[in-house]
């Protein structure tokens, strides 16, 4: 027999202040007690292994308390492909406190840190970052980020999968500063049209923006190989063998997929994050951060240039336990201290509280990461088909103001309305013309007009969905490639857009986008850890928000003119 009392039925009187606090948005968020035995714990667990390593005949024979005979496939992969066997015994033997100090001390160079970290086992990495508070984690991130210049990434999607909306919001997003644009679908059959729209819109907004379409892995690869997309990101990896196998995958199958992209010169990164294993009920009693460190080392072993992490779609899990957001900051740092590009999350709905949403991203915004958000919603969250982001279009002015207040570069800038309307119209016209050239379902002038001024998908005329889906299938059946898009744009008179897209496609021949943390400037110069290596070495060094870029970021929607205080700065 069990009995349940009615909830909140104590009948005792509440204070008026309690009533006010109960109504605060933060109390709509979910919080749970830790349960370390089951892995429902951020990063401090007695059930995580202790660091150890032993090498015999150039081979790791023991790692983190496990003999090779007892390795699961994650252990094997990490021991054989991620750890530097020449240095691992010496690195693991260093006191963890010493390594943590090297990480946060600006006097120790990034390359000196890497010489140590590439030999660290998962449990040793955890032992090191457990010693660091969030400020030390940020201090370390500022130095360990691979690319000197920070950047940002956007989502451009549509609740109706309307290609036109995706194109114009991509154009506006690119103009505002996003270096990468990502889309996905409600109805996956729409993918070819929406991926084309993203690519065209992006190149109208700012030549050199890179685009990707998150899909089931085979289709995502197909679109990449055709040159309709420029990079790939949604290749998920997990920290336990059981969760990996549940997804019919292994570290080797994911690595094979990664090499398929590399073979065509296409940029790609893996995706992982704290909380996914416990969410699926198979954390094997390990903390969220320990399992995520295994993912990061697996990515390193696979030879991919980068990783999207920071809990990503499981952010509600670390977000609900004590110290969870510290663990998320630590996982970003670990990706960077393994010399991987880090696209650092902040890409999923996280909290009802605007204060909490902001606090969650400061450990990435303040030190700068390769992509502060791996999906800032460049559409209103109601249109976000990644299930909502931590920031959306409503937050643009807040983001720009925070950059200006703290003099930090979060990758965006304020753009005046006439410029925005101009690129939105041009993107809509370019897509309209391209669809006509390729004999795809027509985009009307009324749609172009609506797209120019729209906020959300509700502001657009309805499209004929069945005709669009037939058109989308035709893109696949006819074997349309990125070069067909270039040709169509050129024939339709959009020479500059065609030129931009062709320049992006050329990158896959040079292979420059395979370098760690590569993005393209507006002049199509790749910026990566090779030619834009992070050289932070303390105050006055590294990336500084100054000069022309700082002048740009001083602009906001409303700034009173000092020359004539009766007007605003234009």
């Amino acid at each position: 027999m069990t009995a349940v009392q009615p909830r909140n039925a104590t009948g005792s009187r509440q204070s008026l202040r309690t009533e006010v606090l109960e109504e605060r948005p933060v109390n709509l968020d979910g919080f749970v007690e830790e349960w370390p035995e089951k892995g429902l714990v951020a990063m401090e667990s007695d059930f995580d292994p202790q660091p150890s390593v032993r090498v015999e005949d150039g081979r790791v024979v023991e790692m983190d308390g496990r003999e090779r005979a007892d390795f699961d496939f994650m252990d094997s992969f990490i021991a054989d492909h991620a750890l530097d066997v020449a240095t691992t015994e010496a690195s693991v033997a260093l006191p963890s406190g010493q390594i943590a100090r090297m990480l946060s001390d600006p006097g120790v160079s990034r390359s000196d840190v890497l010489a140590v970290t590439r030999g660290l086992t998962p449990a040793k990495v955890l032992d090191v970052v457990k010693l660091m508070n969030v400020v030390e984690i940020m201090q370390a991130m500022q130095k360990m980020r691979a690319r000197r210049t920070p950047a940002n990434q956007a989502h451009s999607t549509s609740a109706r999968d309307n290609p036109l909306q995706v194109a114009v919001d991509a154009a506006e997003g690119a103009l505002r500063g996003f270096a990468e644009l990502e889309t996905t679908l409600g109805v996956v059959r729409y993918a070819p049209l929406v991926a084309i729209a993203l690519q065209v819109g992006g190149q109208v907004g700012r030549g050199g923006v890179l685009t990707q379409c998150a899909l089931e892995e085979a289709t995502e690869l197909d679109l990449g190989m055709r040159g309709i997309t420029a990079y790939a990101e949604t290749i998920s990896i997990y920290g336990t063998e059981s969760v990996f196998v549940d997804g019919d995958d292994t570290p080797w199958s994911k690595t094979f997929l990664a090499s398929a992209y590399a073979s065509r010169g296409i940029k790609m990164r893996f995706t992982s994050g704290t909380g996914s294993e416990v969410q699926m009920g198979n954390a094997e009693g390990r903390s969220m951060l320990y399992l995520e460190i295994r993912c990061i080392l697996m990515a390193k072993g696979a030879g991919v240039q980068g990783l999207q992490n920071g809990s990503i779609s499981c952010i509600g899990v670390p977000g609900a336990v004590p110290g969870g957001i510290r663990a998320v900051a630590a996982e970003n740092l670990v990706a960077s201290m393994m010399d991987l590009e880090c696209a650092s999350g902040n890409d999923q709905s996280f909290s009802h509280s605007a204060m909490r949403r902001t606090a969650r991203m400061l450990p990435q915004l303040l030190p700068g990461t390769d992509f502060v958000c791996s999906g800032y919603s460049a559409v209103p969250n109601q249109d976000n088909m990644f299930a909502g982001s931590n920031f959306d279009t409503d937050d643009y002015d807040d983001w720009n103001t925070i950059q200006r207040d703290l003099q930090v570069d979060g990758g965006l800038r304020h753009v005046r309305e006439p410029e925005i309307l101009a690129v939105r119209t041009k993107a809509a016209r370019a897509l309209q013309a391209l669809f006509a050239q390729l004999d795809l379902p027509a985009i009307t002038d009324a749609e172009v007009e609506a797209a120019t001024y729209a906020n959300s998908s509700n502001d657009y005329p309805f499209r004929d969905v069945l005709a669009d889906l037939t058109g989308a299938q035709a893109v696949m059946d006819r074997g349309i490639t990125g070069l067909d898009l270039v040709r169509g744009l050129e024939a339709a008179g959009f020479h500059d857009v065609a030129e931009n897209l062709l320049s992006v496609l050329r990158q896959r021949v040079s292979g420059d986008l395979l370098q760690t943390s590569a993005i393209l400037t507006a002049d199509f110069v790749p910026l990566s850890a090779i030619n834009d290596a992070n050289d932070y070495a303390g105050p006055g060094t590294g990336y500084r928000l100054e000069g022309e870029r700082w002048e740009q970021l001083k602009q906001l929607r409303h700034v009173t003119s000092a020359t004539n205080p009766e007007t605003e700065v234009r």
Binding site: M1, R7, D29, G30, V32, G281, C314, G319, S349
Partner: protein
Amino acid sequence: MTSLEIPQRTLTLTETGPARRGTRPDEVVIAVSPAFGGTFTQTIVGVPHAEVLRQLMAGIEEQGVGVRIVRVWATADLAAISHAAARLSGSGISVGLLSRGTTMIHQKDLARLSNLELFPQSPLLDADVFRAIGSNAAQYAKGESPQPVPTRNDQMARPRWQAKAALLHLKEFECIRDGAGPVELEATIERVAG
């Protein structure tokens, strides 16, 4: 036998023996997970399990279709629970339920990981949705093709419920009895006087 009291109704689930394969072509089998109506008494958003079952059964019976209830002990995987129940159902149609409320309509000839309708966002399932799910399951049992129950979506469900869902899932896992077969249940739902 477990029994629980809720403000309006009590739910008593009594095991009556191993679950058997039904012979009536006009029945739907409802399958509940190991902790349903026992360790747990309500869904993730506090819909009492008594109400969940009451609405599902009413939705089925309104279509003139019979209903049996079983408990699957050996797994907390919704697809496995639902598919096991579909194979026990005389019509081949089942409704699977996790304690937190996640629900699925399944059919015995489909692949286990497929389904007729899935309601993954447990925080958004209320009494009306459970009644509609029962109604649709019964219509499938009659060989009809009902309009799927409209799915709901709430992007703020993640910050509010994701961690609690993980916690409930872990607890449900602990109630699994390895190797135990499904059992037939008799459900008694009674109004509480006063």
